[in-house]
C-alpha cells in the first residue's frame, strides 16, 4: 500500500467529485452550453492540478507525482470525450474523431501507470470509448507510416533513448516518458485497418464518383487558400 500525504489524498477525493459531475454532463443529450462550460471547468482544473504537481516535485514521492499525473490525464480524457460530443453536435467530425482518439490514448496511459491500481477499473471506460468508435463513426482506413529511426531522445532525461533506462509510455516522477524521434527515414505509407496511430486517417474517399469527406460523405470545405 502506498502512503499518500493528506493533501494528495484530498486532491484524489476532489478529482472524484470533478469527474463525477463531468461524466454526468458528457452524455450526448445534455445541453451544449452546459457541456462547453464543463470543458472550461476541466481545463481550469487540469491547469491547477498541473501547477500543484509541478510545485511539489521536490517534495512528493514518485508514486504521488505519478498519481497526480494520472489524475490530470484522466481529467483530460473526460474533457476530450466532452469535446467529441460537442463536435459531433456541431458537425465537426474530424475534431470529434481526434478527441475520441486522444481520450483513448489518455486512458491507456493511465491504465499503464496508475500507482494505486492495475488499471482494470478503467476497462468499462475503455469499452465505452470503443463503442463510440464503432457506432458513431464509419469504418475508417488509415494511412500509416513505417520508418527507420536513426536518432531518438528520451523526453524525460533528454539523452539518447538507447542510452537511458526509461521506457516510453511509463511515468517517472510525474512526467510521461516519450520516445522523441529526431531523425528518421520514411520507408513506406500504406493503408491499414488497425494502425499504430489512429490519427493517420484518410480524410477523403470516393463516393458516387466524387471525392468527399470520409466522415460526412459530402465535398470537403475548401480553405481560404483554395486547398
Amino acid at each position: 500500500m502506498i502512503a499518500l500525504r493528506t493533501e494528495v489524498k484530498e486532491q484524489f477525493e476532489y478529482f472524484n467529485e470533478v469527474i463525477k459531475r463531468a461524466e454526468k454532463i458528457a452524455v450526448f443529450t445534455r445541453d451544449c452550453d452546459l457541456q462547453k462550460e464543463q470543458i472550461e471547468i476541466l481545463v481550469t482544473y487540469i491547469d491547477n492540478l498541473t501547477n500543484f504537481k509541478n510545485e511539489n516535485k521536490e517534495k512528493y514521492s514518485e508514486e504521488e507525482l505519478n498519481l497526480l499525473l494520472c489524475l490530470i490525464i484522466s481529467a483530460d480524457a473526460v474533457q476530450k470525450e466532452l469535446q467529441m460530443v460537442i463536435s459531433l453536435k456541431s458537425n465537426e467530425m474530424f475534431v470529434a474523431w481526434a478527441s475520441l482518439v486522444q481520450a483513448q490514448n489518455n486512458v491507456s496511459i493511465v491504465a499503464r501507470n496508475h500507482p494505486l491500481s492495475d488499471g482494470k477499473y478503467l476497462n468499462g471506460y475503455v469499452h465505452k470509448l470503443m463503442a463510440f468508435e464503432q457506432t458513431l463513426f464509419p469504418k475508417m482506413f488509415f494511412s500509416s507510416v513505417g520508418e527507420i529511426i536513426k536518432k531518438s531522445i528520451c523526453s524525460y532525461c533528454k539523452i539518447d533513448y538507447e542510452e537511458c533506462e526509461h521506457i516510453k509510455g511509463k511515468m517517472y516522477m510525474g512526467e510521461l516518458c516519450v520516445r522523441e524521434i529526431h531523425e528518421a527515414e520514411l520507408e513506406e505509407v500504406s493503408i491499414v485497418e488497425n494502425p499504430a496511430n489512429k490519427m493517420c486517417i484518410q480524410i477523403e474517399e470516393d463516393f458516387e464518383g466524387k471525392t468527399v469527406d470520409s466522415f460526412t460523405l459530402v465535398k470537403r470545405k475548401e480553405n481560404s487558400d483554395g486547398k
Binding site: 491507456s108 491504465a111 475503455v126 513505417g146 529511426i149 536513426k150 538507447e162 533506462e165 488497425n194 499504430a196
Partner: protein, 161 residues
C-alpha cells in the same frame, strides 16, 4: 497459440559471413540479417530498445548483434512486433533459466503495454534456440495473443529434449 518451428541452420553461415561467428550467445538478431552484408545496416524492430532495457533491469544483459548503434524500424500496425532473440546453446547450458526469464519479462511487458486498450491485440516475435550437442538452431516464430506467450516455455523445453 499460433507458432511455427523450423530449422534455422543457415544462421551459422550468415554469422560466419559477417565475421560474427562465436560472438553471439544471447542477443537480438537483426530482421534483415539474411540479405545485409554490412553490420552498420542491421535493422531491428523499435520495440527492441524497451525489451533490452527491461532485461537489463532484471540483471539479464542482452546485446544487439553488432556494436554499432542500431537502426530501428517502426511498424504501422497496432500489433506488437518484437525482435528475434538468439539463445546460444552454451549460454543455455550455463543458465538454464534464461529462456524462461526472458519469456516471463516479454509476457509481463506485453500485459502492461496493452493495458487500457480494447483487446484483440496480436504479438509477433521470433526466438532462435541453439541446439545442444548440435551446431544448428531452431527458430520459433510466434504470432498470437499475449496469453499464449507464456506457453512458449513448454514448447521450447520440448525442443530442447
Amino acid at each position: 497459440m499460433n507458432y511455427q518451428i523450423e530449422d534455422y541452420n543457415e544462421l551459422n553461415d550468415l554469422l560466419k559471413n559477417l565475421n560474427l561467428a562465436g560472438t553471439e550467445q544471447f542477443c537480438f538478431l537483426p530482421e534483415n540479417i539474411n540479405h545485409i552484408k554490412d553490420e552498420g545496416e542491421f535493422i531491428y524492430p523499435d520495440t527492441t530498445t524497451e525489451l533490452r532495457k527491461l532485461l537489463e533491469k532484471e540483471n539479464t544483459e542482452i546485446k544487439y548483434l553488432m556494436e554499432k548503434k542500431p537502426l530501428l524500424r517502426t511498424r504501422k500496425s497496432a500489433d506488437w512486433f518484437g525482435p528475434t532473440i538468439l539463445f546460444g546453446s552454451t549460454l543455455i547450458l550455463q543458465n538454464p533459466h534464461l529462456i524462461d526469464i526472458t519469456i516471463s519479462i516479454i509476457s509481463s511487458y506485453l500485459y502492461d503495454f496493452f493495458k487500457g486498450t480494447a483487446g484483440g491485440e496480436t504479438v509477433k516475435f521470433d526466438l532462435v534456440i541453439g541446439q545442444k550437442n548440435k551446431k544448428g538452431y531452431k527458430k520459433i516464430s510466434y504470432n498470437g495473443s499475449i496469453k499464449g506467450v507464456e506457453e512458449l516455455k513448454e514448447i521450447i523445453k520440448q525442443i530442447e529434449q
